[in-house]
Amino acid sequence: MSIESTIQEYFRKTANAAPLAVFRIFFGILMLISIIRFAANGWIHKLYIEPDFFFSYYGFEWVQPIGEWTYLIFIICGLSAIFVSIGYKYRVAIVVFFLSFTYIELMDKTTYLNHYYFISILSFLMIFLPAHAYYSVDAWKNESLRAQEVPAWTTDSVKLLLGIVYFYAGLAKLNSDWLFRAMPLQIWLPANYSLPILGDLLQQTWVHYAFSWAGALYDLTIPFLLLMRRTRLFAFVLVVVFHAMTRVLFPIGMFPYIMIVSALIFFGPKLHNTILDWISRFFKIQKERFDNAKSYLFSSTATRKATIGLLSLFFLAQLLIPFRYLLYPGELFWTEEGFRFSWRVMLMEKAGYANFKVVDSDSGQSFYVDNTEFLTRFQEKQMAAQPDFILEYAHHLEDHYQQKGIENPGIYVESYVALNGRRSRPYVDPKTDLTEIEPSLKHRTWILPFDDEIKGL
């Protein structure tokens, strides 16, 4: 059999629709909880309404909070999560969820987290999956949509995305700081001294190394252990233990719960049908109505081909984006060129300090900027150690002081950054007038060298 026909065959294979339906239900619920938690913590106000200035992603400067109306975006996002969960107007709901959630993330780069990015691309992927073909309000009402079987590749695509997240996170840990200096865990773990039992262990150097190596091994192997039937249950125990640990040790929010529940998709349909039975019994839903033994059909062959084509491109991009750092010279951890969107999770303890000097080029007078006048403490912290933030802020300062009447302000920065327990050292070239540099994706020549090496991927 040729490769082509093998591929053809794979794409024709179907699988029980329950796993995807369960995934959709839990995904919606967890997203709703996340949004409510975010609001209940007062973070909408604190992060998106209080600050005067927001850091934008390159090319997305037009995405800004909209004052008090920002709450509306969160409400829309929460409502769409409910609709996704119950599978009502699913396609519209998941598109709205993807757009509103991504809009929220794009509003301020300060809050970037890998797991928010994960939610964004996962919800993008879900737009194209028939997660509503089974056990949804849509399928309940619409007989032509209802299907007990879906193409196997649709469920597999979720597994693939999860696999990429884990495996790439594991690859990123294969560096000398993580493996041979136990950094940054050596800084982070001792701070948990007040935990019962663990607290004392976390002071021990060998424990820092053990956690580092175990973490890397876990990330690299877990997708495969979950895939194989014989190791699946063991792997799931590992998933629960690992994420429980991260939940206890680090302020990591909803992410552990999301990953644990997502990992359920690796299990066979028996489990998922049992879960749906429980739900049916509780809500008195007639599950049998969905069990029609039909297979989900795309509305046309063209749609099917387009979907497969698009998702292939999507996954190709996912495989390549984390390696874009290879296009840049210099130490990745120091310059952060190509650091985000690459599943480089928990790899760095980076602290910085940036002191901006405004020089009136006409009069020669100069003064320093009080960052708290423009940024929240959280923003200042993020800004001080990341070059793209520093540059964007410098341009904001330029605009501000131009409005204040300084025609040609030069903006210089004295900055220091400490990375993974090394002593702080000068970061940005203090002789560079940052107003002369336009934000771009090009290599940043105005960052001083790291003068050390972190070997590895």
């Binding site: 913590n41 992060l47 987290l113 890998n114 797991h115 050596q186 800084i187 982070w188 001792p190 701070a191 001294y193 007040s194 935990l195 019962p196 607290g199 004392d200 002071q203 150097t205 249950l233 799931f236 125990v237 629960v240 233990v241 994420h243 429980a244 939940r247 206890v248 680090f250 302020p251 990591i252 909803m254 552990p256 719960y257 644990i260 299990f267 028996k270 489990l271 049992t274 999770v345 928990m346 602290a351 300090y353 002191n355 009136d360 009069s363 007078q365 100069s366 003064f367 320093y368 929240t376 403490r377 959280f378 912290k381 220091y416 950054v417 400490a418 327990g421 090394r422 002593r423 702080s424």
Partner: protein, 380 residues
């Protein structure tokens, strides 16, 4: 299937069970962080507040004596009480936590906001000390009146009303508003003492225990909050407030009238050096009013340092405190005069102070793994 449910439920219990804010277990490792909190509370914060509240009590008495009988002698006594209290203040100014929240006491803002808004020549002529006195219509609890009270307002009323002491005394004797002047003085010292006693009592009536037992890590743990406050104080109040602002570091030209105790002409350096000592003592855990030293940031850094084999951060920071002190020795007792005659000396002092910001805010914070933000947001 049953096996699976068991694992799943066990996992969830484990997960939720562990995420409760557990009370701290017994610390068997060789460094007990609670000792830092105990040392701070019992040997530094409480004694410093005790001492300060004594001086505010004396200040109040001196104010009453002066207003009862305004003459050269009572004025001199009042000034002396003001100077002692202002120096004692430098030892508590950095402690922002432990303020009774219900009354929204922000001690530093009510006791030491400067420059004051003295009269119609001030940047905000709507609410000034002179206006308060003339109209008699003021509520010192309002945040908008912060720059018309506290030590800086007393500075103005005791030293800044006129050039000579005789002329100053006239405001409290022959001036047609003399009674209003005296009332205002008494209101000021009364409020200063009252606020201070409230904070001290808050610490004594339970907050001390709350502070000491709030171990753990996270944005709301005592250690994290204190380190945040401490760095904020060093950067904003000590470095910028006392030196940087008047030297014109944050403005196109120097601003000599931004110094602390502007009207007393010659007290600003004493206040600065006292605050610098207090800041360094806190870092080293040196007991208030004694040479003894207990656990603090310095000893904790030493402990962490032995783990990480890095540079000796404690020594670097202490050396930098010394360097700033040595540089400041060259300054005129009156910082305003220093700024006007030879600002380079003032700027040089600022530069030495600045170097420690990097060591404290970057290196120390990284080593301690303290969140340098009140944002208890999620991390990766």
């Amino acid at each position: 299937m049953r096996k699976f449910s068991f694992v799943f439920i066990l996992g969830l219990i484990l997960l939720w069970g562990c995420t409760d804010d557990n009370p701290s277990g017994p610390d068997a490792d060789d460094f007990d962080r609670e000792e830092i909190l105990v040392n701070w509370a019992d040997n530094i914060i409480l004694p410093a507040f005790e001492s300060f509240s004594t001086t505010t009590g004396e200040l109040k008495t001196a104010g009453e004596n002066f207003t009862a009988n305004p003459n050269q002698q009572t004025l001199e006594n009042f000034r002396q009480a003001w100077r002692s209290s202002y120096l004692a203040w430098q030892h508590v100014s950095m402690f922002e936590i432990g303020m009774p929240l219900e009354n929204d006491i922000k001690l530093r803002e009510y006791l030491n906001t400067y420059p004051v808004s003295a009269n119609q020549n001030s940047p905000s002529p709507d609410q000034t000390i002179q206006k308060n006195i003339e109209t008699g219509d003021y509520n010192l609890a309002l945040p908008s009146l912060r720059d018309t009270q506290g030590f800086p307002a007393l500075d103005y009323l005791l030293n800044g009303l006129a050039e000579s002491d005789d002329e100053i005394l006239e405001h409290y004797t022959v001036d047609e508003k003399a009674e209003e002047y005296k009332k205002y003085l008494n209101d000021l010292v009364d409020r200063m003492n009252h606020l201070t006693v409230q904070v001290l009592n808050y610490w004594k009536s339970g907050y001390r225990d709350e502070f000491v037992s709030n171990t753990g890590n996270g944005a709301n743990a005592s250690l994290d909050m204190m380190v945040n406050d401490y760095i904020y104080y060093y950067e904003k109040v000590l470095r910028a407030g006392k030196v940087g602002n008047p030297a014109g570091v944050f403005s196109p030209t120097p601003l000599p009238d931004r110094i602390e105790a502007y009207y007393s002409k010659g007290f600003s350096k004493d206040l600065f050096l006292e605050a610098l000592d207090a800041t360094q003592n806190f870092f080293n855990g040196k007991h208030f009013g004694s040479q003894e030293q207990g656990e603090s940031l310095a000893s904790y850094l030493d402990y962490l340092n032995t783990m990480k084999e890095g540079a000796d951060l404690t020594e670097l920071i202490n050396n930098q405190f010394e360097a700033a002190r040595n540089q400041a020795e060259n300054l005129n007792p009156n910082f305003a005069l220093q700024v006007e005659t030879d600002n380079t000396q003032m700027l040089a002092t600022y530069d030495e102070l600045q170097k420690n910001v990097v060591l404290l805010k970057v290196d120390m914070v990284q080593a301690l793994n303290v969140n340098i933000t009140y944002q208890d947001a999620d991390g990766d």
